[in-house]
Every structure is written in structure tokens, then in C-alpha cells.
């Protein structure tokens, strides 16, 4: 009897049901798209944030404190420690290897340009876009174009590993009137010198502005340090720091085994730093807090913004659906009165409306979830150029939510009406 009533109700009154389903589809599309976006927006934004440059710096473990002013280290070269270039691929072999997007070595030494004897400028040797052989990663290209995407070159980048091409920082180029194509003689402190061509002018950070950027091989050659690097900048995808990772940083021994495992297996910047130090025993790795800390702050804001907007949209669509169903139930007061007059119990009437709401909620929720999933992919591809990871639980939540909303919108008013005397409703006083 109940199913027949339900079927009849949908068959005879399909227009109204269709409108209800349509509205629920719209609202659930919105909810699904926004929910999956706000869940994934953090990861997507973290990738965008890589524009700010690397977030971890690896330097040799050493007791000597560099006397660096304006990018030039005034300590004598002798007695300094270095990292081995051959060890670099080990960084790409840690537990979170897939989160390491790039690693760029640097070797800085003071050089003089041509005749000006006392005019020391920093010469910074590095990789630009170099294929690094790493096990399990076939074409892992790394260098400043990956880790420092904000570098801009007027002219051309030098050939990787060349010994006669360099970039000149913008302020140095201004001061000396250097243009791409100019030639220079670089002389290192130990007297070794090379003639080089300026392939381009580089706009980067303060340190490079007054200096020269060269292929790592050239810097190693001038410094007489073959196979050595001074520091490594690492770009890693991380999750924002929280109380657990702060605890791990300040006092690793205070964690119990389970906390330690959780921390070690989460992509906190502190955990990745720890794993790099495990891979390179003679190195000390540190987060660059300007990038690491700010990233967490900004991503937190964006996530909060999305969540709040999603919540507001959710509430408003819930209200819209409720009021729609409310109206349509009100309009059916004659029908309810007739059912009562024919001897239907309160429970039977309620269960009919309940059944209708559940059917409408499930159909609308499923279609909406599918459309919403599609919509979130479209947004993901347009804004971030990547698909959004779609959590299946969203579908479940959305369908349940739409059923609940449908129930709230139809069962409450039908109770009010069912409580009335049939004669009133049939006579049209309501």
C-alpha cells in the first residue's frame, strides 16, 4: 500500500517532484564542488607557493660561523667545510622523496673583475636546469629554474657545465655598464683566472644583484674545489607546522614512539629536514622560515576562506530547499485532509511524506554529487591546471545532507497539517 501510494504520488505529481529534485541537484552540486575544493585547496596552493623559492637550506656541519655581509663571506676560504656534489641525489632518496620538487647546489667565492684589484664581488656557482641521475626518477631536472622560479634573465641562460659563460646581477651590470655579450676576466683569490662571456643579466634576490652567477663547474674550477658545494637549497612540498612538529623541533626526545612515527611520516618541514640530515650525516639542514612558516599562515587563511564560503553556501541552499518543499506541502493540504477523511492514520500520512523526501533526497543528492564532482574538476583545471583529488566521503555526506534537508522541509509542515481537522482543509480554510 505504502509503495503504491508513493508511486502514485510521483506519477501523478511528477512536475512538482521534478522541480524539487532539480533544486536539490543545484544545491548539492554547489555543496559537492565547494566541499571537494576546500579539502584540496591547501595542497593545490602549496604547489603555487613554490614560487616563493626553496624552503630548506642544507649547509655543511661546521663550527665556523660565516662572516657574511651583503652576500660576501669575509672568512678565509681555507678551513671551510663543503658538501660533496656526488651526495646530492641522496636528498632525493629520503622517506618523503616524492615531495622534494627540486634541489639546487650553490658555491660562492669572492672574485675580482678584470683590473679592479680590490673590487671583490661574489661569484655564485649553481645549476640552472640540470638532469640529475636519481634512482626511480627518470628525468629529474633541477636547478634555479625549478627552486627559484622568480629569477628572471634578460638574454640567455648559460650552458650547464660551461666554463666560459656567466650571468651578471642587475646592480653590478648597471654599475659596470655590462650588457649580454660583454667579456670579463674573473680572478679568484688564489690567483686562478678565466675569461668569460656575459650571456645574460639576472634579476634575482639581493645576494645575486651585486654578483655574478655562473655554472657550478666554473665556480668549482676557480675555487679549486672540484666536486664540492657550499650549500644546497631544497624545495619540498610540506604541510603547515602544528603543535606536534613544534614539540619535535624543540625537543625530539620528548615524543613517545607513536608520536615520533606520526611526526616522521608526516610532511612537516621539520620532519623532512630531519630526514635530510639522516641522509647526509655531515650536513645540517634548516628550514628557511620566511618561506616555510609564511606558507602555512597563508594556506591556512585560504583554506579557512573556502571553508567559510562553503558553509555559507550550504546553509543558504538548505534554506532554499526547505522553503521550496514547505510551499509544496502547504499546497497539498487538501490531499492530506482527504487522506484523513478516508481513515488514514497520522503515521501513514507522515510516512508517505517521509518516503517522498527520502526518494527526492537520494535522486537529487546523487545527481548533484556527480555534477559537483565534474564542476570541481573544471575549476581545478582552470585555476590550478590540475585535477582535484575527489574524496568519496563527500558524496556520502552530501546525499545524507540532502535527505535530511528534504525531510526538514517536508515532514515538519506535513505534521502541522495532519494535525488539523479534515473538514477544515477540505473546505479550503488552510
Amino acid at each position: 500500500m505504502f509503495t503504491r501510494l508513493l508511486q502514485q504520488s510521483f506519477r501523478r505529481d511528477w512536475r512538482r517532484k521534478l522541480l524539487a529534485i532539480f533544486t536539490i541537484v543545484l544545491a548539492t552540486t554547489l555543496m559537492t564542488a565547494l566541499a571537494s575544493l576546500s579539502i584540496d585547496v591547501g595542497d593545490k596552493m602549496a604547489r603555487e607557493m613554490k614560487a616563493y623559492g626553496s624552503n630548506i637550506k642544507v649547509v655543511p656541519k661546521s663550527d665556523s660561523i660565516p662572516l657574511t655581509i651583503g652576500g660576501v663571506n669575509y672568512n678565509p676560504l681555507s678551513g671551510r667545510d663543503y658538501l660533496n656534489e656526488a651526495d646530492l641525489p641522496k636528498i632525493k632518496d629520503i622517506f618523503w622523496r616524492n615531495n622534494i620538487t627540486g634541489l639546487t647546489p650553490f658555491l660562492t667565492l669572492p672574485v675580482t673583475l678584470g683590473s679592479a684589484e680590490d673590487d671583490h664581488v661574489p661569484l655564485i656557482g649553481t645549476y640552472f636546469h640540470k638532469l640529475m641521475p636519481v634512482e626511480g626518477f627518470d628525468n629529474f631536472f633541477t636547478g634555479v629554474t625549478v627552486t627559484h622560479p622568480f629569477w628572471q634573465v634578460t638574454g640567455t641562460w648559460p650552458e650547464e657545465d660551461s666554463l666560459d659563460q656567466v650571468l651578471v646581477g642587475e646592480t653590478l651590470a648597471d654599475r659596470r655598464g655590462l650588457k649580454p655579450g660583454a667579456t670579463l676576466t674573473l680572478t679568484a683569490a688564489e690567483g686562478k683566472s678565466r675569461n668569460v662571456t656575459v650571456s645574460g643579466i639576472v634579476a634575482a634576490s639581493e645576494e645575486e644583484a651585486g654578483g655574478i652567477v655562473a655554472p657550478l663547474a666554473l665556480a668549482q674550477d676557480l675555487a679549486g674545489l672540484s666536486g664540492k658545494v657550499g650549500s644546497v637549497s631544497v624545495s619540498a612540498l610540506t604541510i603547515p607546522e602544528n603543535s606536534l612538529s613544534r614539540k619535535a623541533r624543540s625537543d625530539p626526545s620528548s615524543l613517545d614512539a607513536q608520536q615520533y612515527d606520526t611526526w616522521y611520516c608526516s610532511a612537516y618541514v621539520s620532519a623532512i629536514v630531519h630526514q635530510i640530515e639522516e641522509a647526509l650525516p655531515n650536513a645540517s639542514a634548516r628550514p628557511i622560515w620566511q618561506v616555510a612558516d609564511s606558507e602555512g599562515v597563508v594556506i591556512g587563511k585560504i583554506q579557512l576562506l573556502m571553508a567559510v564560503v562553503a558553509l555559507a553556501a550550504f546553509a543558504s541552499s538548505a534554506m532554499a530547499i526547505s522553503s521550496l518543499l514547505n510551499t509544496s506541502v502547504m499546497e497539498r493540504s487538501r490531499e492530506i485532509g482527504l487522506m484523513k477523511a478516508l481513515g488514514a492514520s497520522q503515521a501513514a500520512i507522515l510516512s508517505l511524506f517521509l518516503g517522498e523526501a527520502v526518494v527526492i533526497g537520494i535522486i537529487g543528492g546523487l545527481i548533484g554529487a556527480a555534477l559537483g564532482a565534474g564542476l570541481s574538476q573544471i575549476i581545478g583545471l582552470t585555476v590550478f591546471g590540475a585535477t582535484i583529488t575527489f574524496p568519496g566521503v563527500v558524496v556520502l555526506v552530501v546525499v545524507i545532507a540532502s535527505i535530511l534537508i528534504a525531510l526538514a522541509g517536508s515532514v515538519l509542515p506535513s505534521r502541522t497539517i495532519a494535525a488539523l481537522a479534515p473538514v477544515e482543509t477540505l473546505y479550503g480554510r488552510r
Binding site: R15, R16, L19, F22, L26, A27, L30, L34, M45, E48, M49, A51, Y52, G53, I56, K57, D63, I65, P66, L67, T68, I69, H148, F150, W151, T171, D174, R175, A203, A204, A209, G210, S250, R286, W289, Q290, A292, D293, S294, V297, V298, K301, L304, L305, V308, V309, A312, A313, S316, S317, M319, A320, S323, L324, T327, S328, M330, E331, I379, V383
Partner: protein
């Protein structure tokens, strides 16, 4: 709702129309309330989102200042000077638009002796430095005031190699030992960059120790401006200070610009989707309401009303309800925008006039579209059919 006066004019149509409208609103009070609510909720969401969207750039731009200084001021390298006067710096700060300046600090660098070894000493304004580098990880405390010449902050690596902790004392002197002073370590700073190897002291103390009164090497500024805008601002200031070189710090200013564009596009999408779907929701709710009134239309036709009169009456009714709904929605929506703004950015969202006509237009279009189609269909039918309830 203002009471509509019963006009005593002989213009029957106007009087009749007003009376019909008034009765329609009064008799079907619960339905009218439902319709107004639907429109108000829709309008509130549209208004709130529009307000938020127009303000997102300014708000996010401030949040991005978490990345610290985005401008550097240095002496013009062509002159070969390594320093410039502090008075010039103060003048420059005074010229900047105060509402966009988040913080600024001068810096003076040199080498100081700590016992047997040498270390880089940096003189700065601590209050300003805290504003331009909110990301410094400090163990112990920041030095809160400028002019404090008794305390210092130490870079984390330097502190570790000297075995010092917050609260310890440290003696620093200049190269020839002619200036000595004892300082309390107020805090240990970790940044991952050059500061980790430095002694951070007040600018005035560094000037005394290095024998360089009233000059600084450079200044770092944190200003709300990204990308192209930052470049323009730098050029504008530079024109007034010929001896100085003012540059946006590319790493920050360019990335800020790119990120902000992404956020704007994302918000535009989200706001657009919510806008469209809310409008359609309002539309379908009203459609449902009007479909239910077919009997009424049939009755009016049976009583001899012509089609255009019915149409006009329904349209006026819809517009009246929409206006009431939108007015309520704008107020609620602006309040909602404030809530969102407080929740996310902890500041108020500024009111923009454009939101009012935009919300009104979208809501009216949604409501009228909902009214016109079903009414036209209803008008075409034979009264007897609807009245009988087919």
C-alpha cells in the same frame, strides 16, 4: 511593511490594482513570508559574496605580508656609497602612504668581536623588524622597544656555537677594543638565513660600536603592493630620492602578485557558481509558489479579468516582494559578509556601492523569470479546467 492607503480617487484601475496587491499580500500572509524569505536568503548570499569578492584583494594582500619585507632601500651603487643617512630614511618613511605601510626597519652591518672570535653585528629597529619578519622563530622574547642598548638577540647558530641561552650575558667590542659593552641575550632567533649567524642589536648601539653615527646600510620595507604595482611604487619613490636605489624584492613581490591572481580567479569561480545556483534556487522556489496559484488565475479570468491585467498584477506583486526581499537580503548579506570577514581575516569588510545594484538586478531577474513563464502558461488555460482542479 507600510500600510497601503486605500486611495479614494475615481481612477478605478489604480485603486483596484492597489487593493488587489494589498489583499494578495495580506490574505496569503504565510506564503508571502515564504516568498520574501526565499528572495531575502538568495539576496543575502549574493550580497555577502559580492562584498567579500570585491574586498578579497585588499584582505589577501595584507595576509601575504606574512612573507615579510617586499622592498629594499639601498644607497645608489653608482655612487659607490655603502651607507646613507638615517634622516633620509626617516623622510622616506614619512612619504609612504601610511595605510599601506605594514612595517619598516633600517639595517647597519659590521663585524664585532665576541671574546676570541668575530661575528657579524646587525643594527636594526626591533619594533619595525618584528612587523616585517613575522616568520622569525624566536626562543625567549623579542626586544619590544627601540633605544634598548642593554639587550640583544642572537642568531641560533651563533648562540649554539657560543653555548648561549636567553637570559645569559655576552660581551661585545669593536675591532680595536675601544668600545666594549655587556649585553643580556633576550632571545634566540632562527630564520634559516643570514640572521642565524648574527648578533642583532639596536641600531643606535651598532652605530656607536662601529663608529658610524647616523648612517645605515639599507632599509627593508613591508608595503601592501604586489607585482606591477610594486614596481610602479618603487619608481615613484625613487624619483624623490635621487641618491637611493629602491627596489621591490622580486622573490616576494612577484610571487605575491602571482598568488594573489590565483586566489582572485579561484574566488571569482566560487562566487560565480554560488551566484548562479542561488539565483536558480530562488527562481525554482518562486516558480513552485506561482504554479500553485493557477486556481486563482482561473477564477480571475472567470470573473472577466483580461490577460494583461492578470499579468500586470502578478508582475507588480513579484516586484514588490522582490524589493522587500532584496532590502532585507542586503542588510543580512552585509552582516554576513562582516561575519565571514571577521572569521577569516579578523577585520571588517568594507561596503561597496556596486553590491546594491548588482544584488537587486540578479534577484529581480531571478524572480521575474520565475513569475512570467508559469503565469503565461496559466493565462492560456481554460478557467473551467483549473477551477475544477484538473
Amino acid at each position: 511593511m507600510a500600510a497601503a492607503d486605500r486611495p479614494k480617487t475615481s481612477a478605478r484601475r489604480g485603486g483596484m490594482g492597489a487593493r488587489l496587491l494589498w489583499r494578495a499580500l495580506l490574505v496569503r500572509r504565510s506564503r508571502v513570508l515564504a516568498a520574501v524569505t526565499a528572495i531575502a536568503v538568495g539576496a543575502a548570499v549574493i550580497a555577502a559574496l559580492a562584498s567579500l569578492y570585491f574586498d578579497i584583494s585588499a584582505k589577501m594582500s595584507r595576509e601575504l605580508r606574512a612573507y615579510g619585507a617586499n622592498f629594499i632601500v639601498a644607497p645608489d651603487t653608482a655612487e659607490g656609497d655603502k651607507t646613507f643617512s638615517e634622516a633620509t630614511y626617516r623622510k622616506l618613511i614619512a612619504e609612504l602612504p601610511a595605510d599601506r605601510l605594514v612595517g619598516a626597519s633600517p639595517f647597519l652591518y659590521g663585524v664585532a668581536r665576541v671574546g676570541e672570535r668575530e661575528a657579524v653585528i646587525a643594527g636594526l629597529d626591533f619594533a619595525g623588524a618584528q612587523k616585517i619578519s613575522p616568520y622569525w622563530q624566536v626562543e625567549g622574547n623579542w626586544i619590544g622597544v627601540d633605544f634598548d642598548e642593554r639587550r640583544c638577540m642572537l642568531g641560533e647558530r651563533l648562540a649554539a656555537s657560543l653555548g648561549l641561552h636567553p637570559g645569559d650575558t655576552i660581551e661585545i667590542s669593536n675591532d680595536d677594543g675601544s668600545f666594549k659593552t655587556e649585553l643580556t641575550v633576550r632571545g634566540i632567533v632562527e630564520t634559516g638565513e643570514a640572521e642565524d649567524d648574527q648578533i642583532l642589536v639596536n641600531r643606535s648601539l651598532a652605530q656607536k660600536l662601529l663608529g658610524m653615527p647616523n648612517v645605515i646600510n639599507l632599509a627593508m620595507l613591508s608595503i601592501q603592493a604586489e607585482g606591477e604595482e610594486a614596481d610602479r611604487l618603487a619608481r615613484t619613490i625613487e624619483a624623490d630620492f635621487p641618491g637611493l636605489d629602491i627596489r621591490p624584492i622580486r622573490q616576494v613581490s612577484q610571487s605575491d602578485g602571482e598568488l594573489l591572481d590565483k586566489i582572485k580567479v579561484l574566488m571569482a569561480f566560487v562566487a560565480g557558481i554560488i551566484l548562479v545556483i542561488t539565483a536558480v534556487c530562488v527562481n525554482s522556489t518562486l516558480t513552485a509558489m506561482i504554479v500553485e496559484r493557477r486556481r486563482e488565475i482561473g477564477l480571475q479570468k472567470a470573473l472577466g479579468a483580461d490577460d494583461s491585467a492578470i499579468m500586470r498584477q502578478f508582475l507588480i506583486e513579484t516586484v514588490t516582494l522582490s524589493l522587500i526581499g532584496v532590502a532585507a537580503g542586503l542588510v543580512i548579506g552585509f552582516g554576513l559578509a562582516q561575519l565571514l570577514g571577521q572569521a577569516v581575516f579578523s577585520t571588517a569588510i568594507s561596503f561597496r556601492a556596486i553590491v546594491v545594484p548588482a544584488t537587486l538586478a540578479i534577484s529581480l531577474v531571478a524572480a521575474l523569470a520565475a513569475a512570467i513563464v508559469p503565469i503565461r502558461r496559466a493565462i492560456r488555460i481554460v478557467p473551467a479546467q483549473v477551477l475544477k482542479g484538473e
